[in-house]
């Protein structure tokens, strides 16, 4: 196990390197460079030049990359061109919000989707299955923006049950203290993913229900509910676990639309604004973090799969 982990960590380092190189290269493909975006149309030629010099943008690309790496090795992600903060601080300030939001909505989504998927598989091709499918798909194909919008109008503006804004505190404690304000954003985040998890689960449960071991469990006298919960679910988790592994980077990437709608500045917004203004240090910092999360996510998914399905553990010839 330790050896395997070490091997994966080595791969991870390579991935992160490659990703930063690719992003670095792509960034510099953007026409015009960042100076214009940062300094605005009013900027004079001198200012642009001074800016490019100060940020080292006038140096050859590889040199710039090595500077970036050098700083990275000393734990420095650099400083935003525009926000007057260090990228590390910016991420540290945004991340708790994003994590709270996405972790909670993924959990809520799973809590809904898992029973839903199983239930639909059991009632396969019956009216209930059809209706639930349509509902899940309705939620899926409605853009997050619209879902959030409807929730806001109904629950916050018309009925006034929940606040219109997500918690404005910057610390985890503060965010949870205002948990009522979290409900709408979390629900918004959860709706679209319900369909994803539930439909994959439905599909694998349908397959597994026809397996012989289910017959054995029935012969033991296990109730259908127990069979689903204890036997079939575990056997059906492959795709859901793979999806969850994919969600880790999404988690770190933030949920732009929700952040925008509920005035909840998080990673998504940070990245989006940086992309709009070519704030390279932020872009690189966030991408770096997401790539670490991706590799960790895929590692966790692989480990989880091996834990769930012992047959995948075997070493191949």
């Amino acid at each position: 196990m330790a050896k395997y982990l070490l091997w994966r960590v080595a791969q991870a380092v390579v991935v992160v390197f490659v990703v930063t190189i690719v992003v670095f290269f792509l960034l510099h493909q953007l026409p015009g460079g960042p100076a214009r975006g940062i300094l605005g149309i009013q900027a004079t030629a001198e200012q642009i030049q001074a800016f490019e010099h100060e940020q080292g943008l006038d140096q050859p690309l590889p040199v710039q990359y090595f500077h970036f790496l050098g700083r990275l090795l000393s734990g420095d992600l650099g400083e935003s061109y525009q926000l007057n903060q260090r990228v590390g601080d910016l991420i540290a300030a945004r991340l708790p919000r994003t994590l709270v939001l996405t972790v909670l909505s993924t959990l809520v989504s799973l809590v809904i989707a898992v029973p839903l998927g199983i239930w639909q598989a059991v009632r396969r091709n019956r009216p209930t299955d059809y209706v639930l499918s349509v509902l899940a798909l309705l939620m899926y194909s409605t853009p997050v923006f619209l879902v959030g919008f409807i929730l806001l109008i109904v629950f916050a503006l018309n009925w006034g049950i929940f606040p219109v804004e997500a918690p404005q505190a910057e610390t985890l404690g503060g965010i949870f203290a205002d948990s009522k304000a979290l409900i709408l954003p979390v629900l918004t985040g959860a709706t679209t993913t319900v369909a994803i998890f539930s439909r994959y689960l439905r599909s694998s449960v349908v397959d597994n229900l026809d397996e012989d071991y289910v017959r054995t469990a029935r012969a033991k006298g296990a109730s259908e509910a127990r069979i689903l919960r204890r036997h079939v679910l575990k056997n059906s988790l492959t795709s859901v676990v793979a999806m969850l592994g994919y969600y880790l980077p999404v988690l770190f990437g933030g949920a732009l639309v929700i952040e925008k709608l509920f005035n909840f500045p998080g990673m998504g917004l940070l990245f989006w604004n940086a992309a709009q203004t070519s704030d390279f240090p932020i872009l690189l910092g966030v991408v770096l973090m997401i790539s670490v999360a991706t590799v960790v996510g895929s590692l966790l998914a692989d480990v989880a799969q091996a834990l769930i399905d012992p047959r995948t553990r075997r070493v191949r010839t």
């Binding site: 017959r215 029935r218 012969a219 033991k220 006298g221 575990k234 769930i308 012992p310 047959r311 010839t317």
Partner: protein, 525 residues
């Protein structure tokens, strides 16, 4: 005596097709009824209908009474209370019947938990006790293992342990000992007998082994083409069969000591030297050495879990040995790259111990059999497939079925047909006839001998049926606890066994004569 389970004109069908037609028989308390008959005659589906566990696409009619309950009328909840507790079933193919992602300890524990209100420790103790009862070594370690880490026979014993866990009133055992060597089989039969004697458990025993019937059954029911053709006392049926099919069946029973083949001295096709395989420190195969010459059949017999399947898998490179050297057609397979290995493998046929899992569930019978032909771009595939299916006595009607729509024996024959499709130079046959009734087995063996004589292929024949090995093998190797304890020509090993274990094995093989078998049993222990 009181009837605990009664089948009253039970028919089971799939769509328009009828698998069984008005089968009626009854089982009384403390009685062992053996159901024998043709492979595919509907034994398994009849048995499953008693628990209400038919496949989804099946229908059934008639009456099934379990004690005072009309099974077909029961609702789910009441049915559940009966299953496992009052009536338990040992399924035919233990690999697929166990959940692959749960440990066997968990699965057994659940069986206990569902019907008995015991504390966790007590349950664990019970599980251990059950595993010991069915003869599994190191129960503690076994509890933590997953089904795929067990040998075929061990899985089967787990199924048995599961069935007896709640001391049910009725046990339906569908081929419970096919994967067990005769010594373990004898123990299991003793266990069942003891259960019957102690608790008055009624047992429906579906089996192909007339020896087992003779050993355990009180009454025998014979099925043929979906109908019940004969039933009666075990002595009557086995010694004085009235139906023509029963007679044919009994005539086909192979007998130990009828073998004629001699050892050959040809250049080796497969050489295994000092093979060691360990799984997590446990040596499953321990310094095994043997070779098989061209045109030679090596019978590999031995204890369940002694490593026979593992040896077979190593021989073809499916399992990486921990140590040792394996030469196929003169080449060391450890040194062969995948590219070199591929054509070599094409000269090998393999019949897996567990046919259900070795057939792709999404391929029809014809597609399964045709697969090797497709891979090697053979011509006239359709004809060849028909020919092969005919040879293993599977009618054309089954061509388009999927594996799950077949009986256990039918699946096994598909697997045989597939292995023979390319006329291999080396055949690894892992319990190839365990699920076949003796009459079909006889014709398959005949086919085998015929082909073997014609194409001179070599074969590693793993089997528990000593009579079959006696009939086919040129040489025999006996495995016990991972070691080959004895090997030599068939005549030597079976005629004058040197080792204790071999002697025990030979004496434990049941014979299809109830009286004789009773005597043998008494003399044994």
């Amino acid at each position: 005596m009181d009837v605990v389970l009664e089948f009253d004109a039970v028919s089971v069908g799939f769509g328009q097709a009828r698998a069984t037609d008005k089968v009626s028989f009854a089982v009384r308390k403390g009685e062992v009824v053996a159901v024998v008959g043709e492979s595919g005659s509907g034994k398994s589906v009849t048995a499953m209908s008693a628990l209400g566990l038919l496949p989804r696409n099946a229908w059934s009619e008639g009456g099934i009474r379990l004690a005072d309950n009309e099974i077909l009328d029961l609702d789910n909840r009441r049915m559940r209370a009966l299953r496992g507790n009052e009536i338990a079933m040992i399924f035919q193919e233990p690999m697929t019947a166990l959940s692959p992602v749960h440990t066997i300890g968990w699965q057994l524990d659940e069986a206990v938990k569902l019907h008995q209100n015991l504390s966790k420790e007590k349950r664990t103790a019970r599980v251990k006790e059950l595993l010991t009862l069915v003869g599994l070594d190191r129960p503690e370690a076994r509890m933590k293992q997953y089904p795929h880490e067990l040998s075929g026979g061990m899985r089967q014993r787990v199924m048995i342990a599961m069935a007896i866990s709640c001391d049910p009133k009725v046990i339906i055992a569908d081929e419970p000992t096919t994967a067990l060597d005769v010594t373990v089989q004898a123990e299991i039969l003793d266990l069942l007998r003891e259960l019957r004697d102690r608790l008055g458990t009624a047992i429906v025993l579906i089996t192909h082994s007339m020896g087992v019937v003779a050993d355990l059954a009180d009454r025998v029911v014979v099925m043929y083409e979906g109908r019940l053709v004969e039933q009666g006392d075990v002595d009557d049926v086995l010694l004085r069969p009235s139906h023509e099919y029963t007679r044919r069946l009994l005539k086909a029973v192979p007998r130990l000591g009828s073998g004629t083949r001699q050892a050959k001295d040809t250049e080796p096709v497969l050489r295994v030297r000092d093979l060691v395989v360990s799984f997590g420190g446990h040596r499953a195969v321990d310094e095994v050495t043997f070779q098989i010459g061209k045109g030679e059949v090596l019978g590999l017999v031995g204890e369940s879990g002694s490593g026979k399947t593992t040896v077979g898998r190593c021989a073809v490179g499916l399992q990486k040995p921990t140590a040792g050297r394996i030469e196929l057609f003169g080449n060391d397979i450890a040194k062969m790259s995948a590219r070199v290995l591929k054509p070599v493998r094409a000269r090998i046929g393999m019949i897996f111990q567990d046919p259900a899992s070795s057939l792709d569930p999404r391929m029809t019978v014809a597609e399964c059999v045709a697969e090797p032909l497709v891979l090697h771009k053979a011509h006239n595939r359709t004809d060849r497939v028909s020919e092969l299916l005919d040879a293993v006595e599977l009618g054309n009607a089954l061509r388009d079925r999927y594996p799950h729509e077949l009986s256990g024996g039918q699946r096994q024959r598909v697997s045989i047909a597939r292995a023979l499709a390319l006329n291999p130079d080396l055949l690894i046959a892992d319990e190839p006839t365990s699920a076949l009734d003796v009459s079909v087995q006889a014709s398959i063996l005949e086919l085998f001998l015929d082909l073997q004589e014609r194409f001179e292929f070599s074969c590693l024949f793993i089997s528990h049926d000593l009579a079959v090995v006696d009939m086919l093998a040129n040489r025999v190797a006996v495995m016990h606890k991972g070691r080959v304890v004895e090997q030599g020509s068939r005549a030597d090993v079976f005629g004058a066994p040197q080792e204790d274990y071999t002697q025990k094995l030979l004496s434990a093989a049941p014979v299809p004569d109830p009286a004789e078998q009773r005597e043998r049993r008494v003399s044994r222990g």
